[in-house]
Amino acid sequence: MTEAQEGAQATVLRLDGITKRFGQVLANDSVSLALKRGEVVALLGENGAGKTTLMHILFGHYAADAGRIEVFGEALPPGNPRAALDAGVGMVHQHFTLAENLSVLDNILLGTRPLWAPGLGRAAARARVVQLARDFGLAVVPEHRVGNLSVGEKQRVEILKALYRDARILILDEPTAVLTPQETEDLFATLRKMVAKGLSVVFISHKLHEVLAISNRVVVLRHGRLVGEVETARTDRAQLAGMMVGAEVRAPERRDSAPGVALLTLAAVSTADRGSAPGLKGADLELRAGQIVGLAGVSGNGQGALASLLAGLEAPIAGEMRLAGAAPRRWSPRAAMRAGIARIPEDRHATGTIADFTLTENAILESYARAPFSRRGWMDWRAARDFAARLIARYDVRCPGPETRIRLLSGGNMQKLILGRALEGAPRVILANQPVRGLDIGAIAFVHGQLLEARARGAAILLISEDLDEVMALSDVIHVIYEGRLSPVFARAEKSAAELGEWMAGGGFADGAHAA
């Protein structure tokens, strides 16, 4: 770098050859990165690419195994958040680090005064917080209890925490993952104000359009290595996506196929309401072999009830459910599994896996009591391990091995294991509830490809998604769900996105033709 360039834009942060291992996983492999004053650098990469690890090293949550960090020209001691804070680095974590029992103001104040100071100086601090909130467009009420705030508000508190400590460099880890589109716009406005005041921002994301919208420069990580660095103005989605996953991404191919026999039918089925979540109201549905039925709808409109019904967690209170033509006698999760219904649950952390179990144990969660994993009441762990190893190989689960605790895996790899567990037994019916939520491009393409393969094999698939594009891209036929009611069945491409959107908002249901 020449002296002239240096004067024009000072480098505020320099990471040099950062390397970090977790056991056998190389999370960061000699990553180097520089950030200039008043610049937004996007750190782009798939889940598990090492973005968060890199930033945790910068902030001092982890110490790097090798490498060096310089902030404003001074070396930063490793593994010490306090030093990072004092050097002017602030971090907004993906999982908020807020104490819910404290007020907004107290959360911001935490750790800002010497512990032995006689008082908190709340009045002066409050004035400063209010001023900062006004300057950067971060609407918060200092007295509110953090536990009662929305996710968007909590994020604003996190940003204020950093600003209150005079952060000059702000790291945002997947800040938009939890925000509505409007909140995302507000966040971007705040970031622009910060940059205008000379702050620098590292924006971690795997969403291409956001990266293109907010950053000056994009740095791409893949498998812990820095694979590319481009000016945002000189790149586009396709190039970034290519760098991120290592090859040009293409949508999985979808061949037309003739639907087969009905494997599962619902006739005027209703289920009980669960608190604020509506049950089904007289739903008619048919899942046929070799067909993907897409279920579009705004979240909380009875998708959960339908998924629970198919998974055996709930029984109809009215109407009739038939499996391959016969009504099941007793309906339970076990009966559903026996009937060949495979489930990809909506929340892979809460209901899909047990975090502290190994991959092997998670792989046989549904089948542990059957041969070959269990014989005469004794577990056969060798068979279980072999099975897990097979899933890992066939479904491209990136992990140190079958004995790894599953909590150490990224969301995408966790989902691949769940997918493998569900698909391995060649199920006749597949319930895929939000199968790609929170996944990156590569993993999404993989999951979709596997669902299409199952369809080609003759499985009947119910795809529940809040992403209308996903539903329209994969489905053979589409239903819209609204307040527990199902729309009539629409053929693929029969309705435009706008028309389906109207159904999702309740239009079309008003005619009463499908009312309960």
Binding site: H61, H93, L102, L110, G111, L115
Partner: protein
């Protein structure tokens, strides 16, 4: 009925209430500090025994009363150090460590007692704290003898509640303690050490528990004997829940328990006591406490990270 009214209106009854509540207040404040920082300290029962012995032994061997209190506090803090080391940096199960500390501290106290006084059958008495009437206030009817003719340790117990409240809610230190019990990640990301805060809280808390124990030997019974703590530590665990982890409410709980206990003692001496076995009366305060606990702790806000060990950099 008239008898019950007589009991409730007598100054000696209320003086007993306060006397019974005092050791509970010390130990409850200690437990509350530990739990607010995220550590359940089940060592409380044993630490109270150790404190009762240490304070008493110090005075018996010729040290001053206040030095005795300090010795008890120090003994408690040592057990706190052990508890904290095992549960905070090593992250061991707080239940197991706590019960272990209770067994250890109790056994160590009894053992030391036998070593020091191998041939004694009746425990020797010490010159304990004497009631210190507060000028003017102690002359008030009922309230005077009940509240203001107590020993200095009782006054200290009540003052402690105010101090704990002030520190918890009005100082950076208290803020850090409360945050450590709610979300340790918040503490770390603000540049503070979760380990240091939790260790400190457990040590100070354990020290206060020991002073609670010392109250029994130095301000109530004036000598040390086996089984004297008699489950008071466990009561304090419940009082923290009863008080919803708030010092003021916990104080209320301690006084309430004192009322139940003092009341049953006096009830035994009435006509009722002739007909009903005394064990029923002994049960009374515990039954009423459970009832009060059920009613009061319905919506208590448990520190979210209570009993969750924190290890830096864990995913």
């Amino acid at each position: 009925m008239a008898e019950i009214l007589d009991i409730l209106l007598s100054a000696s009854f209320w003086a007993a209430v306060i006397r019974i509540a005092s050791p509970l207040i010390f130990a409850t404040m200690g437990e509350l500090i530990c739990e607010r920082a995220g550590v359940l300290n089940l060592g409380i029962e044993g630490i109270m025994v150790a404190g009762a012995f240490a304070g008493w032994m110090a005075v018996y061997s010729g040290l001053g009363l206040w030095t005795g209190v300090a010795v008890a506090m120090g003994a408690g803090m040592l057990f706190g150090l052990l508890h904290g080391t095992l549960t905070v940096p090593f992250g061991l199960s707080q239940h197991v460590v706590g019960l272990g500390i209770t067994l250890l501290a109790t056994a160590v106290a009894y053992f030391a007692y036998r070593l020091a006084l191998p041939r004694v059958t009746t425990p020797p008495r010490i010159e304990a704290f004497q009631p210190l009437p507060v000028p003017y206030l102690s002359d008030l009817p009922i309230v005077g003898p009940a509240l203001f003719t107590q020993t200095p340790l009782t006054y200290l117990a009540f003052a402690l509640v105010g101090v704990v409240s002030l520190v918890l809610y009005r100082t950076p230190l208290g803020l850090a303690v409360r945050a450590a019990g709610e979300n340790p990640a918040a503490v770390e990301s603000q540049g503070l050490s979760v380990t240091a805060i939790r260790m400190g809280a457990v040590m100070v808390g354990s020290g206060l528990m020991a002073v609670g124990g010392a109250f029994l030997t130095m301000s109530a019974f004036n000598s040390f004997f086996f089984e004297m703590v008699n489950g008071r530590g466990w009561i304090c665990i419940a009082l923290v829940v009863f008080g919803a982890w708030m010092p003021g409410k916990a104080l209320l709980g301690a006084v309430l328990f004192g009322i139940f206990d003092a009341f049953q003692i006096r009830l035994q001496q009435t006509a009722l006591g002739a007909d009903i076995p005394y064990q029923v009366f002994l049960m009374l305060p515990f039954l009423l406490s459970i009832l009060a606990l059920v009613v009061m702790s319905r919506r208590a806000a448990v520190p979210a990270a209570l009993m969750t060990p924190y290890s830096k950099g864990e995913r």
